[in-house]
């Protein structure tokens, strides 16, 4: 009773004080690797003698009518709940179109091309904050059809499974497989959305969970064991960064899961949902959070130059030594 009351009060207080909406997560349905590969929608590469099999999403979306039906049904339900889904097929088309335009684009005066590093090219992929990993199969038992349905909600920030719904539908002789598929979606979506809501409530109460990694360039004059006089103590740089995390995460929630003189790996880092900029509250993201650490290390007594590199949606690296 007391706990739930406090949770509600905290939520409303956050909304009232900040008067600002958090960054709305984008959600995309992606057929699972199992679905694509078992239905033959795959690409095989020879990677230095090792056969690598990857799902071919474009082929799956173009060639599987059942998949399109399930995604369409799920999109309708999610849009009705205030979360219009990012469409994977359109996203893939958009990326291909943007790539073609980027390669053709030149400046009017000097004919310069757009600057793009190999990393930038790698980053041109379909992304969403939450992936709805979908798998289903129409199975037969004698004259009867039935559906085995699995839906996992993966948080792209942490790779954690935040919501899942799965089960086997009732076998039917009369109903067409398409009808059974529709029934499977209707059967599982409310439970899935209930779990998704629990995840959002947790996020508003305890902060967004992300990963942070601190690295050192091999050209850097200092490593994480360099000692500094800070706050009346002589501490190693790694310990000072650890203290900064404790002070700047929500209720000091983070875990220093591994470290050496060259890196620190922080996991389960709970960053606040908002920060203040020019007198206004804005939605916080991982890069912004790590950028604050960069500014801290640029100040006295450290004077360090660092690069902030965003890796995916929920992970950012701080690389000490140079930009």
């Amino acid at each position: 009773m007391k706990k739930s009351f406090l949770t509600i009060v905290t939520l409303f207080a956050a909304m009232l004080v900040f008067g600002q909406h958090a960054k709305k997560p984008t959600i995309m349905v992606v057929p699972s690797d199992h679905f694509c590969i078992s239905h033959g929608y795959k690409m095989t590469f020879d990677n230095q003698g090792t056969q690598v099999v990857l799902p071919d999403y474009k082929a799956a979306l173009q060639g599987d009518g059942s998949l399109r039906l399930v995604i369409s049904k799920m999109s309708g339900i999610m849009a009705e709940r205030g979360f219009p889904l990012k469409d994977l097929e359109q996203e893939l088309k958009n990326i291909a179109q943007a790539s073609a335009e980027m390669s053709m684009m030149t400046s009017k005066e000097s004919g310069a091309s757009l600057a793009e590093s190999p990393i930038d090219m790698l980053k041109r992929t379909a992304k969403a904050d939450i992936i709805m990993d979908l798998d289903f199969e129409v199975k037969k038992r004698g004259p009867q059809n039935y559906i085995v349905f699995t839906l996992n909600g993966i948080d792209a920030y942490t790779s954690k499974n935040i919501a899942s719904a799965s089960g086997t539908g009732n076998p039917s002789t009369a109903a067409a497989p398409e009808l059974l598929l529709e029934e499977a979606v209707l059967s599982h979506m409310d439970r899935f959305n209930g779990l998704l809501m629990a995840h959002f409530t947790d996020m508003f109460t305890n902060g967004r969970e992300v990963k942070v990694r601190v690295q050192v360039w091999d050209s850097s004059p200092v490593d994480l064991e360099e000692e500094y006089d800070y706050d009346g103590e002589t501490l190693e740089l790694g310990d000072i960064i650890d203290d900064w995390m404790a002070d700047n995460t929500v209720e000091g929630r983070y875990s220093n899961s591994d470290n050496s003189e060259n890196f620190i790996k922080f996991e389960q880092v709970r960053i606040p949902m908002f920060y203040e900029r020019k007198g206004k509250q804005r939605a916080m993201n991982t890069k912004k959070f790590v950028n604050n650490l960069r500014k801290f290390l640029a100040g006295d007594p450290f004077g360090l130059t660092c690069k902030v590199y965003q890796r995916g949606l929920g992970e950012a690296w701080l690389i000490i030594g140079e930009k």
Partner: protein, 174 residues
């Protein structure tokens, strides 16, 4: 001899009073059970049409007709406060309100919503409360336990409660 008879009468009277007390307690418990707003007995029958939930729900009352009415109210209350268990090939459906004390927090709203002939009836699509009979109409001590099959407009009910600020929407805060 008189002494023996006297003590026998006293013992019998004591037994009688204790038995009465225990029976009264049982009656009180049973009444509390029948009238409890948390006493929903539900059996999911399958996946309902788009936006609806299909299940069998029980109601208790001295009168079989009233028990059927109570069952309808229980059906809507179950969707709001407790959710519907999995069954008949359908997955579990969570409760619409996530706050376990929502009935107290929004007492006035729910008192009006669940009043006799209240707005809750708008979300009961179909019932089989015409003449529950056979195993759906059970005579219990001092009353009836009656089952009706209902189709509840779950999505419409959820939207209404979200609009009224009683339930949180999935996109709340974003």
């Amino acid at each position: 001899m008189n002494k023996v008879i006297k003590s026998l009468i006293v013992s019998l009277l004591l037994v009688f009073f204790f038995a009465q007390g225990a029976d009264a307690q049982k009656r009180k418990d049973r009444k509390a059970l029948y009238n409890s707003k948390f006493n929903y007995q539900i059996q999911c029958l399958g996946v309902g049409n788009d936006g609806t939930k299909l299940f069998k729900v029980w109601g208790f009352d001295k009168n079989a007709k009233n028990a059927a009415y109570k069952a309808k109210r229980n059906a809507v209350a179950a969707c709001i406060f407790r959710g519907i268990p999995a069954g008949g090939g359908a997955d579990k459906t969570p409760a619409i309100v996530t706050d376990p004390d929502a009935d107290k927090t929004h007492k006035e709203f729910f008192d009006e919503f669940f009043a006799a002939g209240g707005k809750y009836l708008q979300y009961v699509n179909v019932t089989t409360d015409g003449a529950p009979s056979g195993k759906d109409r059970i005579r219990v001590k001092r009353g009836y336990k009656v089952a009706v099959i209902v189709s509840i407009a779950y999505d419409d009910l959820r939207k209404y409660l979200e609009e009224k600020g009683v339930a949180r929407s999935l996109s709340h805060g974003f």
